[in-house]
Amino acid sequence: MLELRKDIFADERDDNLKEIGKGTQRQDMLGHITGTSSYFGDHKLQGMLHLKVVRSAQAHARLRRIDTTEAERSAGVRRIIRSADVPRNLNTLLSLINFGKDDEPSLAVDKVRYKGEPIVAIVADSEREAFEAIAKVRIDYEPLPTVFDVEEALKPGAPVVNETYPKNAFIYHDVHDHQKLRFGDADAALATADHVLEQRYQMSPIEHAPTETNGAIAAPDTNGRYVVYTSTQALFFSVDTCAKILDVPSNTFHFIGGTVGGGFGGKVDTLTEPLAILAAMLTGRPVRYVFGREEEMQYGPPRGAERIFIKDGVMRDGRIVARKIRAYFDSGAYTRLSSYAAVKCAAHLPGPYTIPNVHGDVYCVFTNRTPATAMRGFGVTAMDFAIECQMDKLANLVGMDPMEFRILNAYRDGDMKAHRREAKNTALIECVQVAAEKAKWPIREEFRRASSRKDGGGSRAVIPPTPADARARPAAPVQQRTSYDRLPPTVTREPPREPPPPTPPPSSPRPAAPSHGATRFSSVFGTRRR
């Protein structure tokens, strides 16, 4: 049952709109209830071939020999695609926005890094014939030591999962093996806190489990182009990823999608489109590549697991004075999107609370498992689990009601957040108050009277003195090319609204002007905005 609390924040809204705010029927409802909504798999093309991949049986192994002789002679086989057939067989998804290094082949070359990694693709007249050919592919593996635990993976001497990142950690800003967040002096505050609580949390991997599995149908179209029906969640991401991998201009493709049977983040990685298009190019026929359910569950990317350590300092009156967090994202064998999730996670610290001293280190770690990707709440869900369990424990520790404890520490308009931006448009306190009311959970009058719009800012708006890490300053990051054509970045630097911190952090390295060819970003994150 849903109740709209129009009474709250009413002064910030004009509720006299004609269409906005109405419970209008979904545009797609009629299609859904009549079964006429068109998903990628609902396109039936004449002479369609079926693509299946041979997946690694090993979690980490060198590929000594791949023998497809017998498979090539198998009935109904039209084409066997090997790694050498892929024009640019190395990519990383976020290379399109210039973040990270190419680290993942479409088909494994000399090594497999997770169980289920695609090695060879079979294109056959029927799925059955593709399966029969798969059974005839002989692969000679030389098993390599594996690592499945994120902390083990970071230890010296751990097996190297992905040679692009030889220390099994994504490299941030070309210098750090983790993303840092520094705000105030957490260690000093922990030393003076009444209570210190350090805990470990573990979020499991999660499979998106959309009812429609990942897939694509690619077919030669008129004028030398290819039409691609796809389940992608990100159409141009997929278009441009395919253009890069297949080394053709992006307008070679006409992608059609738009109605997708659930995604939850699991249909961003563009896993089926490049091979389906390549197969259509190599055979001149329509080709369908769709994941089976077991493939979707085990070899389609999950939300990566996260391990989180939190150390908090809290005073007897319930004020949290320091929060120190170390988090490890299990990216699996390749980067995909976990690199960004770690940054998003760092920005999320310390949760929706105003804590004067925050210290975060977030790692994106490589292990010999299915590469992880985005999923609903990416970078935040696990951290919220850890933080909110920790909050419950802290409330217990100081003998406070957990609702009141949240309100006491909640961020409010005008507060300085740990990523050094002013909090605005906050509403945590009101959510706690209303949830308490709905659940008939009594809270005291002073907490019922609290407001996100009151008592913020002032001393809470100050960026506290922040000691620099002992480590020496790194050199300027190396620039990478972007695969998009862009206008030169307009560097707009507004003066910070708040007074600068007493010990300002060294400013980020500025890039050199673009010297040739495609425009460059000012850093891996692009044009700076203050």
Binding site: G23, L181, E388
Partner: protein
Amino acid sequence: MTRHRGRGMASVNYPIGMNLGGDPSQALVHSNPSGKFTVALSSIDLGQGMKSVTRQICAETLGVPVEDVYVDTADSDTGPHCMGSFASRGTHRVGNAVMAAAREARGVMMEAAAEELEVNAADLETDGRGNIHVKGAPHRSISTKDVAIAAQFKQGKTISGRGIFLVPLSDVDPETGEMSPATCYAHACLVAEVEVDDETGEVAMVRMDSAYELGRALNPRLVEQQLVGGAWMGVSHALYETPEPYYPDPAHGPRDFVEYLMPGPGDICPHDIAVLERPAPDGPFGGKGPGEMCANPVLPAVANAIFNAVGVRIDDLPITPEKVLRAIKSQGGARPQARR
């Protein structure tokens, strides 16, 4: 007594959109000669309601009935660029792009209407029912259809608009993490009540009460779909699902919907939801986006409720009966905490 009830809560916020590549989305809006509008997008509707919410945004901005707008999604030949449907960005980013495009189209439409009515465009307003009239003089009116016909066949104007929304990239400081990760945040607080069987470790959901603040609720029915379904997924993440049940040991991964555990229709519990609306200054009509965050408070709220019920802290997800039972046994039995 082997079954114990407990309540727990959690509160969260959630950033809307990504801080990558400017996170842009584009939209094109145009009218046909009958005054009906098409929104061309490359954005994807995964079920979240992208087509429907952008349709309402477009109709509101143009000042026409929602029935006069159709949203066409995800064709790379006709839809302009969009980063994609993820990061709770659809309503905010795509919605803003649609709003900008619709605003431009509305400008042309009003100019065309002004020419027909021989007035200044600034003196016109839409009635939301398909007519444009002179402010304060409803009888001096023209239908959007007649405007479209005039624009197309007489005036030589295209009633169309382009829109893009982009949040300039914010660099991340390598040493401090200073950045602008998002321009607005949604909020939530959720109370979960559970029942724990102290002999088997099984946890059953009893009820949930929640408050979600997500900017303006552009379509409350769509919001309800997201919040109810999202909280269900939160329960699933909390208690049931994972492709690696023995993580970090990769063994025994589920292969089908029997082995991959998700709450069934018999596992759901009543969920009372309050929606708060603090409009985002830069959101389309103040909208933020409920997509992802609605699952997030459920996980810790359930964990905290289990502690309240039997006194054990399970810090590893999912909270399987096995983990609960091991914890209860290692502390020598259930220790119910003060009832809340």
